[in-house]
Amino acid sequence: MSNEDIKTIISELLPNASFEEGGEWLNIGIEAADWKDAAQKLRNCETFPFNFLFCLTCVDWKTHFTMVYHLRSTTTLDNIVVKVKLDREKPEILTVSDIWRGAELFEREVYDLFGVIFLEHPDLRRLLLTDDWVGYPLRKDYEDPINMIKL
């Protein structure tokens, strides 16, 4: 199904969504407050249930964070990208680990490296770094004068 058809169906399903142009797949922008409902609707959609979350990550644009979710439907083989903007001072978003079970470890990794708090997550702890690490390394303003060389 082409990006245009997906766009018409999604804009009926999620009236508050914005769409970005360019890119290989359809990019949908959603507010942080509407994310959980939108995720549930995308998962249970009739025409293409997006039941496979294959990538969950975060990008630090120095003024704000953007959470990026890549979704795929195993029945119709369509791919979409959902982006949620977060405030840099207080990055919080609801978890989706009850909708897609694989998101649990992905969200722990994003919390560990970026500091984004996932509300209602069953077990939010550091995953890859030691428990007493201070700071969030993948942020752009992470200072480490011993190891990092600024080019």
Binding site: N51, F54, C55, T57, L105, T130, I149
Partner: protein
Amino acid sequence: MVEEIGKTAEGDLIINVGPQHPATHGVLHLVITLNGETIKKVEPHLGYIHRSIEKMCESLTYRQFIYTTSRMDYLSAHINNHACALTVEKGLGVEIPARAQVIRVLMDELTRIASHELWWGAMAMDLGAFTPFFYAFRERETINDIMEETCGARLTMNYMVPGGVMIDLHPNFQTRVKNFLKLYKQKIHEYDEVVTGNIIFQNRMKGVGYLSKEAAISYGVTGPAARGSGVSCDVRKLYPYEIYNQLDFQEVLETEGDSFARYMVRLREMNESIKIIEQLIDNIPEGDFQAKTKAVLKLPKGEFYQRVETARGELGVYIVSEGGTTPYRIKFRSPGFSNLSCLDHITRGGKIGDLIASMGTLDLVIPDIDR
């Protein structure tokens, strides 16, 4: 290494498996809660090989960051490099010559066979047998010699570059691969005799570690672990790249969902890879082995995602570019990370021996998970 032994109120025992353990998967630390010998909960602790590759790649150029991925999942090193090269080429919009495409697919399939050989040997060693280890390494050495003659290295070969491959094939390549195919066909029946038909292995793997189809999709499991539960997820068939849509091979699916099904999927995948190599080895087209690209690569502003099928599952490379010579953010969606997240689900209620068998058939490589 048994570190802290503690008991909870109900008489449960909490023990550690790893991080240094003889099942040679790498450094995985599992904290398991036992009641007698029955497992109640398995919790993986990661990070013992977290080398901060994603942060490091933000300061490397587009030609330089490819070497780090061959150290991530070192058993399918060519396929990892292939994914990075394809993503950069997608951004640049460059067309790859036919000869380079065929060489890349040949190297990928040889790597897949080598990876499955090592998996077979190491898994049989986990379950207690020592002979399959030597059989597997005998074949793997032949493939390593082929790779060394053409690419220059045995394990971490940086052969794929954006635009094609780094150097042309060695003149002996075709004869060596044909000899390998002959040798492999003579020896493959030994694998079935020694392990697959063995009553002890069958009892240890059948009915153990059941993963249902819905659970596999929900946890995001890909690769042979998902194909053993009936999920059709082979990237070479669903979203073909390079020349895979012109080749004739089957996607191997089993419906049982237990460890034995995952085991049979991998054995049959080795035969499918042999079929692909046979179709290509006599028909390598002439021409350039590398497309012309600039010396300093700059990707345009935007985001690019490319997925390939490694020996473990679907690897995705996601590059966010701001127009400079280095990427702004790279994310590697590694197959082992999602495969590991279903370990707790499939081992509850089993015994410790079942945990080892399930972990063996999931085929985890820990540097791939920790990055």
